[in-house]
């Protein structure tokens, strides 16, 4: 089984290095094909491992020693257990699909080979992240995905906005990673190991406040990667990257790493239910907060990005309330339908010549039938309509909140479910229904290559069946490792009222969205100039606040440091030293006039000076030492 583990882990790396060989060359189709093929090999290996894990085994290998110094021993160890194999399946399925899709999507891009190199490198980092058997290995993968995210957001580096967004994402993640590192340091300081099994076995022996701080610091790291408030602004800006990147990294895999961390560290968080409650509250807040921003946005990809943010909030609610398997389940289901949604959006973008404003589209269902079906399916799954994936995973989170008697969280999440349905179908209605507004802009849409659509098909199938088919086997498998909580509402009447009520509420939101946007788009000036609309449209002015509070003062400080400290103190000192030496040389070079006689005289002067110094030092040394005696 170890060989499958290594194939699953290293096939993407091989693909990345291979594609990287041709990074500077113009498009070569085989780089994409080979990278995709290797990803598929990784997927097959993951599937074999899944089968093995389902039979009740786990694989744990120690590839080699990494750091061994004194008491510190950290190996390159990898573990395939119930949790990591779930993540491996999600990552390898979505990334294989995205790789194949990208062959079509990036077909006319100059950086075709480079793109596949980065994309496969990302998958490798993500595999390291989920498969590592210790926190430091996880951190390496964590940084690796951050780096690849930076490379891919800024893939079109000639665009100012893309490089800006890439840097923003990278810097925000660094801030969070610092906290995560502190958490890891604390763990090592107090437990003397970073291996998952050692840490989790001994964490309960630590004093309460130390566990609390470890939990908080690790969660801050998770907040950065999963773009939770207040570190959320980078995710929407990250949509500058190519759309397959958004699908793979900023919807399905990397941003869920934070959730994975909390799920993986569940023995820590189980000790500190207060922190868990805080996580759940923050998650619920972000779910609502992001959904409201998605309501009014006019950028197709940003709407989906806010939707991702909102769903990550859901996952954190589940993880915070101790329902780790529910969080992981929603992570999985969400990965499938959100990636599908993004890839559909990619098709639309291609058809619309990179137009992102859905208000300039409309009626695309005629020319893009398959994309329309896929995106509708994904939206239905996202909205949580029975029997698609979202119903089983998202409604489960609602039930968790209800059963755990967090009624406020429940209400917030219920409202958010309505908002989710509304904005998802607002998008679908604007893009695919109504009159063809894009004709005014002289755009004639066409469907994407058929192999791209075939590549998307597995995701569509998974978005439909993931909840129904996978729930029971998944639960039986994963609860070998995660706390096996079942969330049943004991009263049957309440259960049915809740389920049907939620469904009706969501369907009402969908109907309202269709009614409002599917026919003709009426722009309501009064609403749009209203305070609430402006607040939401400007993302609660948070980017602006960050700009004013952090970026601008920092720029001022930097300029001050440059003009006052660097130029006037540092540079002046260095230049001063150089000047003194230069001037001394200028003044004394007359000494070397080539006249032997005067050279000899200088030599004698030097001798006398040395003699005087020697005598003076000896005398001084004796004086001090004699005094001491």
């Amino acid at each position: 089984m170890e060989v499958y583990l290594y194939i699953a882990l290293f096939a993407p790396l091989v693909g990345s290095l291979f594609a990287g060989l041709f990074g500077a060359y113009p498009k070569m189709l085989f780089t994409g094909v080979i990278a995709s093929g290797l990803l598929f090999a990784s997927f097959v290996s993951s599937a074999i491992l899944l089968n093995y894990v389902l039979a009740g085994h786990t694989v744990h290998v120690e590839m080699m020693t990494w750091i061994a110094a004194g008491d510190l021993y950290i190996p390159f160890g990898f573990v395939v257990d119930q949790v990591s194999v779930t993540m491996m399946m999600v990552v390898s399925v979505v990334s294989t699909v995205v790789h194949v899709y990208s062959i079509g999507y990036m077909a006319h891009d100059k950086g075709f080979n480079r793109f596949f190199s980065y994309l496969s490198a990302f998958v490798f980092s993500m595999m390291v992240l989920v498969m590592s058997d210790n926190f430091l290995g996880l951190f390496i993968g964590w940084e690796g995905v951050g780096l690849c995210s930076w490379l891919l957001i800024g893939f079109w580096y000639h665009k100012e906005s893309a490089t800006w967004a890439a840097n923003e994402a990278f810097i925000m993640n660094r801030i969070a990673d610092l906290a995560m590192l502190i958490g890891i340091f604390m763990m090592y300081w107090n437990l003397g190991s970073l291996q998952y099994d050692v840490v989790f076995a001994n964490v309960a022996t630590l004093p309460m406040h130390i566990i609390t701080w470890i939990g908080i610091f690790l969660f801050i790291g998770a907040m950065g990667k999963s773009a939770q408030f207040p570190l959320h602004t980078w995710l929407a800006d990250a949509m500058e990257g190519p759309t397959p990147v958004s699908a793979l990294i900023h919807a399905a895999t990397m941003v869920t790493a934070g959730v994975y961390l909390v799920v993986r560290a569940n023995p820590i968080y189980s000790e500190i239910p207060d922190v868990g409650n805080a996580i759940a509250s923050l998650g619920a807040f972000v779910a609502m907060f992001a959904a409201t921003m998605a309501l009014v946005n006019r950028d197709m990809k940003r709407i989906i990005a806010y939707s991702t943010l909102s769903q990550l909030g859901y996952m954190f609610v589940a993880a915070g309330l101790g329902a780790y398997w529910v969080a992981l389940f929603h992570l999985m289901a969400h990965a499938f339908f959100k990636a599908l949604l993004f890839l559909g959006a990619g098709n639309v973008m291609h058809a619309m010549h990179d137009e992102l404003d859905p208000f300039k589209m409309g009626g695309l269902k005629k020319s893009m039938k398959v994309t329309w079906i896929f995106m509708t399916l994904a939206s239905v799954a996202l909205a949580g309509i029975y029997p698609l994936a979202g119903f089983f995973s998202k409604d489960l989170i609602l039930e968790v909140a209800f059963v755990e008697q967090h009624y406020i969280l429940y209400t917030v999440l219920l409202l958010t479910a309505g908002l989710t349905a509304f904005y998802s179908f607002r998008l679908v209605a604007l893009i695919f229904h109504g009159n063809e507004r894009h004709l005014e802009h002289g755009i004639h849409p066409h469907e994407a290559y058929s192999f791209m659509l075939y590549a998307m098909a597995p995701l569509a199938v998974l978005a439909v069946i993931a909840g129904m088919v996978f729930k029971t086997p998944y639960y039986l498998m994963v609860t070998n490792l995660l706390p096996a909580m079942t969330y049943h509402i004991h009263n049957h009447t309440t259960f049915w009222i809740m389920t049907i009520g939620t469904q009706l509420f969501v369907i009402a939101a969908i109907t309202y969205a269709y009614k409002k946007y599917a026919k003709a788009v009426k722009v309501d000036k009064k609403v749009e100039s209203g305070l609430l609309y402006q607040l939401l449209y400007n993302q609660y002015y948070i980017p602006k606040i960050y700009d004013e509070v952090f970026s601008k003062p920092y720029l001022k400080l930097s300029k001050l440091a440059w003009k006052e400290i660097d130029l006037k103190i540092v540079d002046a000192t260095v230049d001063g030293i150089a000047n003194v030496i230069y001037q001394t040389g200028e003044k004394t070079h007359t000494m070397q006039n080539g006249n032997l006689s005067s050279m000899l005289r200088w030599m004698v002067i030097g001798l006398v000076v040395l003699l005087v110094l020697a005598v003076a030092f000896t005398a001084g040394y004796n004086a001090v030492n004699l005094q001491a005696m």
Partner: protein, 101 residues
């Protein structure tokens, strides 16, 4: 009056000073060699004297070495000097300025 170590050292110092002044003031290359010899022998006197008064022969051995090295140095130096004289017809220090920096 008994001759003590101090007398020898004063003699050595006086000779050294004469040698130094010679090195500084003389323009004739031959005179410069004489001055150098005086410097070396001033040191020799000091060494031999101290060696005698301390009953340790190391100093005298050093003096012999210095004499030997001084002799070879003068041999090489005089050889160079003769070549220089044949080339230029002069042995004036002030004319040897080819090493101007």
């Amino acid at each position: 009056m008994e001759i003590t170590l101090t007398h020898y050292l004063v003699l050595s110092t006086v000779l050294f000073a004469i040698g130094l002044i010679g090195v500084m003031r003389r323009k004739n290359l031959l005179m410069l060699f004489f001055a150098t010899e005086i410097l070396l022998n001033a040191v020799n006197i000091g060494m031999a004297a101290i060696s005698h008064y301390r009953g340790d022969y190391t100093g005298q051995m050093f003096a012999f070495f210095i004499i030997a090295i001084a002799a070879s140095e003068v041999a090489v130096g005089l050889g160079l000097l003769i070549v220089w004289y044949k080339r230029t017809g002069k042995i004036d220090l002030d004319q040897m300025t080819s090493m101007r920096g």
